[in-house]
């Protein structure tokens, strides 16, 4: 039996989770778009659970606000594009359940 492909809007889902977002100039993760442009796989997109990596007009855009701080992109990216840290204390995701 053929597997039906599932597509969802994960941003919608992430809307149930709470964040204390830091200012833009303190983004805890940054990427180098010029490295991404020649990346052979762009596996960060497949790995990130909240779709923080997206290509607009052929350019990789990274958006840190919905980051779960899981660390997956730093592992998926083997091209040294991702500079990865946790946010400073008290900022970022806030689980009420976990």
């Amino acid at each position: 039996m053929e597997i039906q492909r599932i597509k969802i809007d994960v941003k919608n889902k992430a809307g149930t989770t709470t964040w204390n977002t830091d200012s833009h100039d303190r983004a805890h993760i940054t990427i180098k778009p010029d490295i991404c442009e020649v990346c052979p796989h762009q596996l960060c997109i497949a790995g990130c659970p909240t779709e923080c990596f997206k290509i607009y007009d052929d350019v990789m855009k990274f958006q840190f606000e919905d980051c779960t701080e899981c660390g997956t992109c730093a592992i998926m990216c083997d091209q040294d594009s991702v500079a990865w840290y946790y946010p400073r204390g008290t900022y970022g995701i806030q689980y009420n359940q976990g």
Partner: protein
Amino acid sequence: MDKTDVIIIGAGPAGASAAIKLAQGGKKVVLIDRGMPIGSKNLSGGVLWGNDLHEIIPNWQLEAPVERTIVNKKIGFLSVEDATVLDLHFDSWDKENYSGVSVLRAKFDEWLANEAQKAGAAVLSGIMIDSLIIKDGKVVGVKQNDEELFADTVIIAEGSNARLLLDHGLMKDPSKHRFERKEMLIGVKEVLTLTRDVMEERFLLDENTGLAGEFILGNVPDGVKAGGFFYTNKDTLSIGVVIHLDSLNSEVRSYEVIEYFKQHPLIAKYIKNAVSVEYGAKTVPEMGYDNFPPLYGDGYMVIGDAAGFVFSNGLVIQGMNYAIKSGILAADTIIEGGDLKNYEKKLNNSYVLKDFKKFKKVKKLTKNKRLFELYPTGINNALKDILTERGEPKQSLIKKALKAMKQSGIGLFSLIKDGLSARHI
């Protein structure tokens, strides 16, 4: 210069357990976590096997915010349409001291850190340690912005991403600065609300008993290897998937895999009318015994996930028990005043390293493509074939099963080979 006996970085189950034991042993200990409140950064399945907690908090089951005592386990294989589920009802678990309980980590970790404070540890929340202070090869303290704090011993309990170990070259290979895809899994999880009445009726539960379901997902396309879990809490369900990062490809996204699980016909019935209230994700290390970082060094010890102490076999993930145990053993090492190398000796003599040595081969099985791609479908087809009455002459069961397996692409030799490695589970 601010100096204490012990600094612990990270207040998950590993760090908080170490702090409690150290404070009980009369040590001056500072427990630091980046979350505020503590627990707000943490997520797991999660079923806690808390045997070792008795040692530091004798009545923990009565005091801790536990959700339900697990008395029903469902172990299943999901194919695209069908499911074969082994349904184990162990009501005797409810009467035992050693049973598993479901927990929600935001609440549980906050409680455990509070116990550390009650025992006499100084607990600092909302502080992210940027780096270790290393003098002449010895770890002597920690740093946040320009502030420094020093200690005789630093315990690294920072969890799975192990940033401090990577940044300071404290992995087995000092030049390693990130984990490989084959060494890590990602867990993607949701918490769904379901009223107590519905939950207890739907899953045959009493007021305090619960169920833990674990499934091999044979219904995700493109060879993605993933397991699915769902656990009952008091009035919520924890549901999620654990995905091998080296099996993800550009066609399937991590956040879609949890939907393949939730939308499977059987699982969809389990979670009918349940509403999602939280979504999150976290990595699970699966580096294996041979790739653990050095577990201690000059001035420091590594405990819990940071050390790689997580067991997974494609179905269950256990890390909290090893986190607690390794925390207690690190604390014992300091209290006894001996050399830090005693910590590794203690680990070797306990179930922690014994388990990881014994289960070295399980990793091979969990990386096995057949486990995820072929067996779930093969098992469902074989059983369906055996159990469907088509008015045809009956073949012997074994013959029939093998035939169905073969049609699903599983040969007799690989069955035997995988059977042999499965005995390590």
